[in-house]
Amino acid sequence: MAPGDHHRLVRNGRGARSVLEVPESTPATLEPLDSETHRLAPAPAAMGNVLELRAITKRWPSLEHAVLDDVDLVLEPGTVTWMEGRNGIGKTTLMRIAAGLIHPDAGEVHLDGLHPAGDRRAYQMRSALLSAGTGGLYARLSVRWHLGWWARLAFIEPRRRSAIVDASLERFDLVALASRRVDRMSMGQRQRLRLAGTFLHDPKLILLDEPRNSLDAEGIAILTAAVDAATARGAAVLWCSPTGEEEKIESDCRLQLVRGKLVVSP
């Protein structure tokens, strides 16, 4: 059984749609897509949605066209949305806007009805972004130290912090590495640490930008289990990968970013 088959089995076991099927209906508010504009029909109410991106537009000075052009995206609780696209097409930009890291030129971003700038603290307590790449770690500090540091930044209650860190070490198979310095770990081990930090505070919105980077089969299984656990408690996951990536996680909705527009992936 290939690693990818494993995740399919896990999610199929929970009754999710197969990744091999074109979804009959994407999460409710993604339908209907206007055939010309690919715009979403306005959601009747914000209730129930975790993330709502409305008419998001972002331009970079070096590009003629908008990297994101009037993009709508709604993520519902307990769903995994797979987003793919070519390199440099704007996937990371969309993830960063959803995380509140950068602001769009136009459009609205809401997480549980919260605004990323106006309600910054509450917004950040509910969201997490795993950036693509290998950055964000202190080379000379240990695994346990990183998790404790992130727990403090995430405003996890002091009395719960130690237990949460221990649970995270267990969950991401980092117990044996707990006291090891990051610069003495493999890239895959570092990625498991970065993932552990992403899921640490049980965020409602989890944004994973190329999360399988350097992970082996075991690491991918750990990641898949973490995603399943997150969706089971009602979190929404947006998983972003470059077009052509072979292994695909089981998802409830597959989208493709093409020329600044989000469309349902074939």
């Binding site: 509140g100 950068i102 969201s127 202190y138 000379r140 500090l141 992130w150 403090r152 930044l153 002091p158």
Partner: protein, 269 residues
């Protein structure tokens, strides 16, 4: 939800992080102490050449310049270290976690001032200890302990300048004036020589920043050098600079962060 313990834990986390990174290089403390001991020695022998009337004796100049060097540690720690650290965090990608946390980048940067200041205080004490043990510096013990709260006030007054440079790092990815300002501050605040020696047209610059009152007060408290005016007036000036400029620095940093987020350059370096 009571936020105070969570903010306090995050601030403590920043200080612990900076401490952990500092001590992860095991010899750095000792090599820096050695470097400071050599600087103290250098200025001790340079002071043997000083016979001008305003000091009376070489020992008086040694006291004068030693306290100037101690303050320079604190000024460098607050003025130059912070923008450099933030830039390093940008390059390493670690600042992103601060920006995307409930604690936030502004709180994080403010907390980053604490450890360099503590470090500068410890190194300042090392310099004074070397001067006492090796070169017979006489400390004014009755008032010396008051130097700690005055140093903290000084840090409060210096920090806004550092925040302005950090704002420049957020917005433009560099703070090119840091070295220039540090040199200018060294020149006009009387760290190495009395400001009275400066040409008249530039002496006003020693009055419009918090570094001069801080240096004067520390010299008064540590080695008993006479102040031109009241000590309380100098303290009031320090407090005034801090109270007025700190909000300006925070707002500048917050604005620069928003600017970078709007432009989408917040993670660039």
């Amino acid at each position: 939800m009571n936020l105070f313990p969570r903010y306090a834990a995050a601030v403590a986390g920043v200080v612990q992080r900076d401490f952990a990174l500092f001590v992860s290089y095991r010899t750095v403390f000792f090599t820096q102490c050695l470097s400071l001991a050599f600087s103290v020695t250098l200025f001790y022998y340079l002071s043997r050449l000083v016979t001008i009337e305003s000091f009376g004796s070489p020992d008086r100049y040694f006291e004068f310049v030693l306290i100037g060097m101690v303050i320079l540690q604190a000024v460098t720690a607050t003025l130059a270290t912070l923008p450099g650290t933030v830039r390093q965090e940008l390059v390493a990608g670690t600042l992103e976690r601060l920006v995307l946390s409930p604690f936030g980048a502004v709180g994080g940067v403010l907390a980053m001032v604490i450890f360099p200041f503590i470090k500068a205080t410890i190194f300042g004490m090392v310099m004074i200890a070397v001067a006492m043990m090796a070169y017979g510096l006489e400390l004014q013990w009755p008032t010396a302990l008051l130097a700690f709260p005055v140093a903290a006030l000084g840090a409060l007054a210096f920090t806004p300048f550092s925040l302005l440079f950090t704002a420049a790092v957020f917005a433009f990815k560099q703070a090119p004036g840091t070295g220039f300002v540090l040199s200018a501050v060294t020149l006009v605040s009387g760290m190495y020589f009395p400001v009275e020696l400066l040409p008249g047209w530039i002496q006003w610059a020693s009055e419009v920043q918090p570094f001069t009152p801080s240096v004067d007060l520390m010299r008064h408290l540590l080695v008993g050098r006479e102040l031109d005016g009241s000590a309380w007036l100098e303290v009031a000036r320090l407090v005034g600079f801090g109270v007025v400029l700190l909000p300006v620095g925070v707002v500048a940093m917050w604005t620069a962060l928003r600017f970078a987020q709007r432009r989408g350059t917040v993670t660039e370096y």
